[in-house]
Amino acid sequence: MSDALVVERLHKSFGKHTVLDGIDLTVPEEHVVALIGASGSGKSTLLRCINRLEPIDSGRIALAGEDITRPRNVNSVRRRIGIVFQSYNLFPHMTVLRNVTLAPRDVLGLGKAEAERRALALLGRFGLAERANDYPDRLSGGQQQRVAIVRALAMQPELMLFDEVTSALDPELVAEVLQVIRELAAGGMTMVLATHEMSFARDIADRVCFLDGGRILEEGTPEQIFTAPREPRTQQFLQRVIDAGRM
């Protein structure tokens, strides 16, 4: 099995503040990698660097063996990587269907009928077919986030990035979104997800990376990270999560 994503010695700073301090990460195809760590540890920035929403200072990123560190056309890289944000970021002036068909039509050049057929199939798969003609503000947070996932999937990406996608949701809406991600994992989608949902990470991830101060301090199987963390910082972090009743 080849590697879907390779990140090497990635550095990124905002002004004097170093956010990513030499990240090395390899994600084999069909693997799910969970990034855990405190807020500000660099999880979100790492995801945004991978799909080039943030310019990087140094390091190397390869997607399916192809160097995308300095791509000639950044848009052609982004269409291969789906990202879902904490705050959904649906386009409020478009219906659900238009949200999902926009990029396939404008970027991939699909015809209207074909794009809508695919979009409706995807929406149907995640129980959203009936909301196709609604505007996003008529939907619950969980529904909006599921539409955001479908919108990213409509580009048929090789890699999906999830940036704390349940953090903005009411607790009772978290499960429906996690269920969608579980289905994707079961379908063999390669994914990197930054999350605060430790039990979910433990369930779904093939590998867990603990980020601290812009470095991957410890990585291993969920079993190893959650039951026998080696680093004191990891132990400290997990202890705090347990104390907060979040695991």
């Binding site: 929403l53 982004r78 955001a148």
Partner: protein, 292 residues
């Protein structure tokens, strides 16, 4: 007994109803508040009418401004001339909306490469917001035809429209820019992350949302433009104001001015109310959105 808190809440609700008639319609106290509003209106206007009609110069003003016969005989010509105003501001508005959007987009282009374009856009808006409208109209209206270039039009209406487009585009581009900047960066991130180019993102995601947000201030500027179309008359184009001045000069009566004023009002007031309605609808919609 109603608690202090209840009454405060009631006041707050009443305070939010800022519209003219809203306070009169509602509740059991409705009839009483209608009566009060009626009475105070009658008193107010009686005082104004008495004050004006007892002014020492009133008989003279009444004769010159409110001569019914003069009004009736000049009005048709002024109404005809007003069509030129309509033509001027309609043509100007189309170009303003397009040109101003271009300026606003240029100003929001990021990166050092676009610095010269951004700088030009900034100088443009600064200059044309800084010079009085009537001056720009005079400079272009008298200056451009005087160049004697055979390939540019010499019509003063043409140059008047050009001047209005230049002036108002500077204002309207600022309105657009405020709208563009009010769209959260996460919308751009979402669009770019789907592979849309910068241009596609602007066209499909940023600008449609921005324009929707600034429709009320755009209509406001449109009202200003309608009034300023009268300034083209200073170049000699026979629009409503110029026509009424011709009539006034012929008869030494000013009833024609009243006619011209009424024509402008007949157009701008409905538009102003429409703008208010849009703002109100938008506010209500956003409140609803917040509840969902």
């Amino acid at each position: 007994m109603a608690s202090e808190g209840d009454r405060r809440a009631g006041l707050e609700v009443a305070g939010r109803r800022s519209r003219l008639l809203e306070g009169l319609r509602s509740g059991g106290e409705g009839r009483r508040s209608v009566a009060i509003a009626l009475l105070s209106t009658i008193v107010f206007f009686t005082v104004v009418v008495v004050a004006v009609t007892h002014a020492p110069g009133w008989p003279e003003v009444k004769h010159t401004f409110f001569d019914g016969h003069e009004f009736r005989s000049t009005f048709p010509d002024i109404a005809r001339a007003f069509l030129l105003n309509v033509k001027i501001f309609c043509i100007a508005e189309v170009f303003i909306l397009a040109f101003a959007l271009l300026i606003a987009v240029v100003r929001s282009l990021p990166g050092p490469v676009f610095f010269p374009l951004r700088a030009m856009a900034i100088v443009y808006t600064d200059v044309f917001r800084g010079v009085p409208t009537i001056l720009v109209i005079a400079l272009l209206g008298y200056g451009a035809p005087a160049l004697g270039l055979s390939y540019i039009p010499t019509s003063v209406v043409f140059w008047g429209i050009v001047a209005l487009v230049l002036i108002y585009s500077a204002y309207v581009s600022e309105v657009y820019r405020a709208g563009i900047e009010s769209i959260h960066p996460s919308q751009e991130a979402a669009a770019r992350s789907l592979g849309l180019s910068r241009g596609q993102t602007l066209r499909r995601v940023i600008v449609p949302q921005a324009v929707r947000r600034v429709i009320p201030p755009l209509l406001n500027d449109f009202i200003g433009l309608q009034k300023d179309s009268a300034l083209v008359g200073t170049l000699g184009a026979i629009e409503a104001f110029q026509q009424s001045q011709i009539d006034a000069n012929a008869s030494f009566l000013f009833a024609s001015y009243i006619g011209a004023a009424l024509l402008f009002i007949a157009l701008t007031i409905p538009l102003a109310r429409f703008t208010d309605w849009l703002v109100e609808r938008d506010r209500r919609r956003r409140q609803q959105g917040a509840l969902v």
